[in-house]
């Protein structure tokens, strides 16, 4: 069997299709798909300073790699942001990989840690409380990214969220009746245009985990697999298993979830567009309440 476009041996059969591509043509396909997503959703503008949230995993490393390739010759500024949550034996190896890549490719890297920002590592926060790790981690990570982006003059944050992640999140919000959380999903997040909220963009919105892993492997940016010790406690893991089972039995399920969600997203956004943005009375971060979720959590943890 050959690549669809040449006689070379294929490296992937694209999801939900019979199209097989070799390394060269898969890389072309991948870059085109990213460029198309960026163009259709007006994700990036000439005057932008883009902050790329990088963990060292295959999604964020591929994002950093491809955005650097596409935008390096332009005036668009790219900055990498990494957060050390303080998870023993998990983040350390990934961080070395990020630092090495940024140094080699001359991308400015800013690193932050929960320990410095919140005086405790995630490990300690979880040890001292009965909180679910993923909930705590997500709230603090979002706060650091938004606050630091504002400080650094970044006007958009790019994340490596992919089709699989988004399909899982849509289902999770449905299962938990959390429509408000769904209103901020989509390729470009946010409901309200407020200078305190940094817009988030997801250039990998229509790419699957398999495509991204293939891209990362082919371009030598796939580091050794390290699993977060808290992942098993997450609600997401159950939804992930369920969705993968469905996708196996009914190919196209994940894409159909995304497509039907995008069709109703404008209606969901419309119903939340008048939500008020306050400044947190403790830290001044933007919030829909008087005190932001991060400060509430910090009080509970202390």
């Amino acid at each position: 069997m050959n690549c669809r476009n040449c006689k070379n041996t294929p490296v992937i059969t694209l999801p939900n299709s019979n199209i097989s591509l070799c390394k060269k043509h898969f890389n072309i396909y991948f870059e085109r798909k990213v460029r198309k997503t960026i163009r259709i959703y007006n994700m990036i503008d000439k005057k932008d300073t883009i902050g790329i949230a990088v963990s060292g995993g295959k999604d964020s490393m591929s994002l950093l790699y491809i955005l650097n390739k596409i935008f390096k010759p332009s005036k668009i500024k790219l900055v990498a942001l990494s957060i050390d949550e303080g998870i023993k034996n998990y983040r350390d190896p990934n961080f070395k990989f990020v630092k090495k890549f940024c140094k080699k490719n001359k991308v400015k890297l800013h690193t932050f840690s929960y320990k410095k920002e919140f005086r405790k590592t995630l490990d300690l926060m979880i040890k001292e409380s009965n909180k679910l790790p993923c909930s705590v981690c997500g709230v603090f990570r979002r706060k650091i990214l938004n606050d630091k982006a504002l400080e650094l003059g970044i006007n958009k944050l790019a994340t490596g969220h992919n089709l699989d992640d988004e399909a899982q999140t849509i289902l999770m919000n449905q299962f938990r009746k959390n429509i408000r959380a769904s209103a901020v999903l989509g390729p470009v997040t946010g409901v309200i245009n407020d200078p305190k909220f940094i817009k988030r963009i997801k250039p990998f919105y229509f790419l699957t985990e398999k495509e991204i892993t293939t891209f990362a492997y082919l371009n030598r940016i796939l580091d050794k697999y390290v699993e977060c010790p808290y992942a098993k406690f997450g609600y997401r893991n159950h939804v992930l298993d369920l969705l993968n089972e469905f996708e196996r039995k009914y190919p196209g399920t994940k894409y159909n979830i995304i497509s039907s969600f995008l069709a109703i997203l404008p209606t969901i956004k419309e119903s939340f567009k008048n939500a008020k943005v306050n400044s947190c009375k403790k830290c001044s971060s933007p919030t829909s309440r008087d005190i932001c979720q991060a400060c509430v959590l910090l009080d509970e943890l202390n």
């Binding site: 390394k23 295959k58 892993t213 293939t214 699993e227």
Partner: protein, 65 residues
Amino acid sequence: MKIKVFIERTNKREVVEAKDLSELFKKIKIDPNTVIITRKNELITEKARLNNNDEIILLSVISGG
């Protein structure tokens, strides 16, 4: 055919008797959509032909975090 398989996510090594990758995945109970397959440091698809004593590595596509 005997195929030597290394599953990166679980750090497990197995020797599996299978005529092709489709049969191999059924035997080791792994969903092919959740992995990429390498042989001699080259990526191969699920339709690739196997040879006796081939050594393949299955890399997880699922994020660790």
